[in-house]
Symmetry: C2
Subunit: 313 residues, 2 copies
Amino acid sequence: MDSAEIVAKLQGHDRRTVARLISLVEDGADDLADVIRAITPLQRGAAVVGLTGSPGVGKSTLASALVGAVRAKGKTVSVLAVDPTSPFTGGALLGDRLRMQEHATDSGVFIRSMATRGRLGGLAWATSHALRILDAAGSDVIIVETVGAGQSEVEVAHAADTTVVVLAPGLGDAIQANKAGILEIADIFVVNKADKDESRSTVRDIRQMLHLGAEREWQPPVLSTVADQGSGIDEVWEAIEQHRAFLEESGELRRRRLSRAANEISEIAVTSMRRQMGTVSEGAVLDELSAQVVEGKIDPYAAADKLLAQVGR
Amino acid sequence: MDSAEIVAKLQGHDRRTVARLISLVEDGADDLADVIRAITPLQRGAAVVGLTGSPGVGKSTLASALVGAVRAKGKTVSVLAVDPTSPFTGGALLGDRLRMQEHATDSGVFIRSMATRGRLGGLAWATSHALRILDAAGSDVIIVETVGAGQSEVEVAHAADTTVVVLAPGLGDAIQANKAGILEIADIFVVNKADKDESRSTVRDIRQMLHLGAEREWQPPVLSTVADQGSGIDEVWEAIEQHRAFLEESGELRRRRLSRAANEISEIAVTSMRRQMGTVSEGAVLDELSAQVVEGKIDPYAAADKLLAQVGR
């Protein structure tokens, strides 16, 4: 498919093309630069909502319920489920995509899992590319769901305008949130499975921890849901819209998008460097340097300097 | 401390110096290049054993027991517990360091947790630096323990000569192992908590999965331990030594170390590029490029090319 064809297909919201392009991202394909270049004029600035939390808290169920809430407003929505823990197997690994089945026949909804095979770019690189593709294909809202795991949560938060942290009742998770620095990335907290007894104390714990933190312009609300019964969902969507209004009025939206673009540019630059170093490696420069390092003849920093010099730069 | 002093302290196996240098690694300190350069002549080629598996399988208990087995052979040993999931809090996060207390007064044992704050280099970068420091300080054996989480397990496997994958009884974990590509990185499997009923079927499941895989020069053994009772530990250490003999005889040890050095050099080169891009950013080049990308005036690939051109490369 050439660039003009890709652009035409995305303008026609062609789902198979979107799926194919995201597969290219997963593979770290060489021709992605051309694709991204071609679709940049289609950029619309979709609202990106990050959804993160430990496995089992009900992220997928909440995502599915939010899709319903977004559709009820007449907007189109994509869900991108990023699995940062599976570099090898690839493809759709989050087994609970089934919960999304209710939206399968809705042409205003696009759902896709993405494994990052880590071939070249990392999670941040892959996520930013996939967001560009979904945005260009006309999604008004993009929900990025990730498996909670420290650094990857932070990377997804960097990609999102609004980050929703999902917790399940029980003190453990709240402490966990504190430990992993989640307080610093959350714009909205959702305590799901709020029909459980401990949910009140979980909500209280999070509010207390927020209270102890630094004063902020935006005070993250702590909401309760029972996602599989649809309870509390509209309130979550409302909070997301309120946060978006705050982002726009305060100028924070532009700041976040600038910082996202800066990350994106750096990641692409680094990936390009890695590619070039790979090429140099075929030319045996890296092999020779590695042998010298293994033998203790030079230190790895000296080797890195020599490698960079060889990259023709 | 200047370089000559650091070298002298490491030659004297000074533990406080080792601890301080690893803190520098955690911080991604600027003067690490000088430290690594200075200690390269001390390089001894310690045996690096990676220990990975899900939380709760008993990795720390097994590590502690292995420390005892190594010491019984008259060798010195370090344990480096890498926590890839905690970019923020830093310091010693693995709560169960207490289990290592029995070795606290043994001068032939050094134990240290390392959080990767992800400031500059990633997990691979930090691990390779810490291994160099522990090696230079005279450890015969270095056990690298990591919290199992996909990509990070793979990165630790790249750093180790021998990778031990620890599982607990129950089919889930065995399937998990298959899913996460663990079969491809394991040199030795240990089913810990083997006093549990399901342990036999877990051992059988893993053997079956191994049987289905490609034929290999080294067939990973599947061993059983009850680490908190010290049962099965000597067999694990014996398997590690057998694997090491295999590595040496087959030439695989040199191949692994060459590949490790190549990774290390590339990571240092990439980190150096990131640093330079950061400097460019202060010069507002990246800011300007980011604004153009946010406004859709240029695509991020064109921006990355311009950034790399500015980095004088």
